[in-house]
């Protein structure tokens, strides 16, 4: 081992240790928001935030089934009690009415400011007379005790009216003191998590706590064993999907690994060589992670998952090296031959992946950094480290018996050119015909959530009165006051829409904290003590009320009149504070109000009415359709990815052009690649399927891996033992790729089968197309160096 090689080995070892050291200190995140765009538009920021951590995304809907209603009620109470002690949940509702005194007091004390029905007329002589006459009627009715305690404070009945308003249209059926579904077969709970729905680690922890608490409650209640628990919600689905994904990836990558290891063992007949095959890719992955960690300060879980997939190409590097090394030939000699091709291959792949660096999605940028650094390190390790690790024991791999036949096949592959052109023309036609309808931009159709789970979610959502996950009304304004005024106007319109059955209820921040203008208006409606006392005296003339009865009413009104207006800090109770915080969003220079809706039946009508509503100057109000909006987001995401991929292709072409200084040689490399991509798209869309963003990712990988094949064919020299070995190494590399990714396509999860299927089909087609189109194109194109190996 010469000095230079020793230096390379030492540098490599130091590098590995450093990488491991850095990675051990790296925070890994699973926050899906890294894959949402960092949009500068305020309205879109609100949308993204709602998608990420809106109230709806934090809810777990819980249904208890089977067993007797009494048993379920008991479990519901125990469960709620246990969940309320856990930090992960901010609010647990099961109908047991455990709302704190601070919250009740706020509503009771401020009833004249909070009730939208408060007008000056109510406190005039006539208004009070009407109220007192009705009070008297109610006192003589069965409802008398309902009023008796509060009547002296509240003869105009503000508190009762307010209670109805604050219920917001959610009607819960209660049995044995807890919520049950309309058909009495389910006992219901609603849990709001502290963590947003996308924080899957936290969601998983909360879910586990929920399951444990349920199991404990089951045990402590007689007959509890027969009760089943259903839990749904965005976070719950996220956790479920992740678990399914982990499961699939584990199973399928184990199968694929076994296949690849078996194949390589047959080819190499050496465990040492087999394990050395992994050295470049492992080194590359570690370096890639380190680079991402140093650049961003954290690594996203998805970067690791997809990144390792994307640099799977690095396994090929070792295969090219080993399979092309003759007995007693020495790895260095092989490297001397294949290095220029390998180097160009990495450069081409890097250009393809570099496009990701310009993405507005931080997740894409991380992937770009990871793959570029990973591939560069992997190819360097193949070039400078692997030969040194080999020298002592490795004298080349055996010559495979089928190699001559394979080479012969490649030489004769050109007869397939006409059929290939016909197939290609067909594919171009197919793709062309469908070009307007090629992409799938509906998030739901890509959702891995089963129809059964979605059905359960819908049923529980309507039973618990949890807000619609699809539609929300969003109002924005430059300041909180304007915003609260705008939401008050919107509330008026929504109330009307409830009467026309376009929805069944809604919530709005101005219910809990009216705008200052509204507060002033309501306050102005309250007469001074003297006037009120006179009005009251005249109004009760002839009625049997004792004169002193309403002293508390006079005092309460005066207190409200003198009090400072309500502000955010007036809400001291936890439940209403939390509610308000979830409805009011502050952004730099902007406030947004989120108004959740219940049972939206006629979204178009709501959107129309809101569009016509004259909002406050500076404020906007609109109905947001999260599904359409997120589809649009996905569309935008996919378009960006497509644009970046196209740019990457152009850069690849430019790099090849600069390298070869020949249009025809560039074409020789790109033609099979282009043909493979088009045919892959045609195959994927054969049954009317549309392409997802995952297919696009797969195509990116096809270009990265397939370009290496094309470069080897372009290099030519497909004769003699070197030619056989080149052919075998390409076949071996491709079989490994097809195995590894093909197995993934068996998964039911869109992202896995999308990428898996695309890469398996695409790389195989790249190899075949390269063999058919390039076998002697290189020579006919007049590249003299290509004809003679080395």
């Amino acid at each position: 081992m010469n000095q230079r090689n020793r230096v390379a080995l030492i540098l490599w070892a130091i590098g590995l240790v450093t990488c491991v050291w850095v990675i051990a200190r790296t925070p890994f995140m699973t926050d899906m928001s890294a894959f949402l765009p960092d949009s500068p538009e305020p309205a879109q920021q609100v949308l993204v935030q709602q998608l990420r951590d809106g109230v709806a995304s934090r809810l777990i809907l819980i249904g208890l089934e089977d067993g007797t209603p009494a048993t379920r009620a008991e479990i519901s109470r125990k469960l709620a009690q246990s969940l309320r002690t856990f930090d992960g949940f901010v609010l647990i509702e099961n109908g047991d009415g455990a709302i704190g005194k601070a919250d009740q007091d706020y509503v009771w004390r401020n009833r004249y400011l909070l009730n939208p029905d408060v007008t000056a007329d109510q406190f005039s002589r006539d208004g009070l007379r009407r109220a007192l006459e009705q009070d008297l009627q109610l006192l003589s009715s069965g409802m008398e005790p309902l009023l008796k305690d509060s009547l002296p404070h509240d003869p105009t009945g503000e508190a009762i009216g307010l209670a109805r308003t604050l219920a917001g249209g959610a009607h819960h059926r209660v049995r044995d003191g807890v919520w049950v579904s309309a058909d009495d077969r389910q006992t219901l709970l609603l849990a709001q998590t502290l963590a947003p729905g996308f924080d899957l680690d936290a969601q998983e922890r909360d879910l586990n706590y929920l399951r444990q608490s349920f199991a404990d409650a089951q045990k402590s209640v007689q007959g509890g064993d027969s009760v089943r628990m259903l839990a749904t919600g965005p976070g719950t689905f996220g956790v479920k999907i992740r678990a399914q994904m982990k499961h699939d990836v584990t199973i399928y990558s184990a199968i694929a690994s076994a296949g690849i290891i078996g194949l390589l063992l047959i080819a190499y007949r050496s465990f040492v060589v087999l394990s050395l095959t992994l050295v470049p890719v492992v080194s590359g992955a570690l370096a890639g992670l380190t680079a991402v960690s140093l650049w961003f300060g954290f690594v996203h879980g998805i970067t690791v998952g997809f990144g390792v997939t994307l640099i799977g190409e690095a396994v090929d590097y070792a295969i090219y090296l080993f399979a092309q090394t003759k007995r007693n030939g020495g790895a260095s000699a092989t490297l001397g031959r294949i290095w220029p091709t390998l180097r160009l291959g990495v450069l081409v792949s890097t250009c393809g992946f570099a496009a990701m660096l310009f993405s507005s999605f931080i997740g894409f940028v991380q992937l770009g950094v990871f793959t570029i650094v990973g591939l560069a390190v992997a190819v360097s390790v193949t070039r400078f480290v692997l030969p040194n690790l080999l020298t002592a024991r490795f004298s080349g791999t055996r010559r495979l018996g089928f190699a001559p036949a394979l080479l012969d096949l490649i030489h004769r592959a050109r007869v397939l050119r006409i059929p290939l052109f016909i197939v290609l023309a067909g594919a171009v036609f197919m793709v062309g015909v469908r070009s307007g309808n090629l992409w799938q931009d509906e998030l739901t159709s890509m959702s891995p959530i089963s129809a059964g789970d979605q059905q359960i979610d819908r049923a529980l959502r309507s039973a618990t009165g949890a807000p619609d996950v699809r539609y929300i009304v969003v109002a924005t304004a430059p300041d909180m006051e304007t915003l609260l005024q705008a939401s008050a106007r919107t509330s008026v319109e929504l109330e009307r829409l409830i009467s026309s059955h376009a929805l069944s209820g809604f919530d709005s921040p101005d219910r809990y904290l009216p705008s200052l203008a509204t507060q002033f208006a309501r306050n102005a409606a309250l007469p001074d003590q003297k006037t009120l006392a006179e009005n009251l005296a005249q109004a009760s003339n002839g009625l049997p009320f004792r004169p002193e009865t309403f002293a508390p009413f006079l005092a309460d009104i005066e207190t409200v009149r003198q009090a400072a207006p309500l502000t955010r800090s007036s809400l001291t109770g936890p439940a209403l504070s939390l509610k308000l915080d979830s409805l009011l969003i502050q952004r730099p220079g902007m406030w947004a109000a989120v108004m959740p809706l219940l049972d939206v039946a006629d979204p178009n009508r709501i959107a129309d009415i809101l569009a016509k509503t004259i909002a406050q100057p500076g404020a906007t109000v609109k109905l947001l359709d999260l599904e359409t909006a997120s589809n649009r987001l996905l569309h935008q995401y996919r378009r960006e990815a497509l644009l970046l991929a196209s740019l990457g292709s152009l850069v690849i072409a430019a790099v090849l052009l600069v390298h070869f200084r020949s249009i025809s040689q560039t074409f020789v490399v790109l033609a099979p690649l282009g043909a493979a991509v088009i045919m892959t798209v045609a195959v994927l869309t054969l049954n009317g399927h549309r392409l997802s963003i995952f297919n696009l990712f797969g195509l990116l990988l096809v270009v990265a891996v397939g370009s290496n094949y094309c470069l080897f064919f372009q290099r030519g020299g497909m004769v003699g033992e070197d030619g056989e070995r080149t052919a075998v190494s390409l076949l071996l590399a491709n079989i490994c790729t097809v195995l590894g990714f093909g197995v993934l396509s068996l998964s039911g999860i869109p992202v896995l089968y999308g990428i898996g299927g695309t890469v398996a089909i695409g790389t195989a087609l790249s190899l075949v197309a390269a063999a058919i189109l390039t076998s002697d194109m290189g020579r006919t194109a007049g590249n003299p160096s290509a004809a003679t190996p080395g």
Partner: protein, 199 residues
């Protein structure tokens, strides 16, 4: 808010209708006991009556009087239909109480919403249904008198109910309820006088 409403509802339950029964004296009972009376009431399938209810309240200078009709259908339906001074309907059917007020307001209350409500409702309904175990679950019972002049004194066991209602005193003759007196903790008082319809 919810607690407050629940509290109000509890009070509302007190004035729930009670029906009178025109029943036969229980044959073969020489000793008139709580058990034998309840067994007799248990046999009653339906009954209807007119009522006059008088309330005395501290906040009013004079008493209030309402009149209307009561209906009971075994095992668990009660109707109280007030005709004067203003029309009002309250129907208790199984676990659900529905009411329509004079001003047209409707309300529905599930009894199981609160154990306190259930206590007050069962005070009257389980008496009518002759369901002694249920009645005992919610009340301490003091029963005295003879079969043609008996008195059932109910004292709520639940402390929260007791805060509002001191006692419910039902008087009757044989299997017919004649008066229901409700004494509230704050001194207010109501009496319902029941006149059975001819059977």
């Amino acid at each position: 808010m919810k607690d407050r409403l629940a509290g109000l509802v509890i009070l509302g339950m007190m004035l729930l209708p009670s029906a009178s029964h025109a029943g036969e004296p229980v044959p073969g009972t020489s000793v008139w006991s709580l058990e034998s009376m309840m067994a007799g009431l248990h046999q009653v399938k339906a009954a209807s009556a007119r009522f006059i209810e008088r309330k005395q309240m501290a906040m009013l200078t004079r008493g209030l009087e309402t009149t209307g009709t009561l209906r009971y259908v075994a095992p668990n339906r009660l109707e109280k239909i007030t005709s004067t001074p203003a029309p009002e309907t309250i129907i208790l059917d199984g676990e659900t109480l529905t009411g329509t007020q004079a001003n047209g307001d409707h309300y529905t209350i599930a009894l199981s919403d609160s154990p306190e409500v259930a206590a007050l409702v069962e005070g009257i309904r389980s008496t009518l249904a002759g369901d002694l175990p249920t009645l005992r679950r919610y009340y301490s019972i003091d029963f005295k008198g003879t079969h043609d002049d008996w008195e059932l004194d109910l004292t709520p066991k639940n402390a929260r109910v007791r805060d509002k209602v001191e006692s419910i005193r039902i008087k009757g003759v044989e299997l017919v309820l004649k008066t229901i007196d409700v004494a509230e903790r704050d001194g207010d008082h109501s009496q319902m006088i029941i006149t059975p319809d001819a059977q």
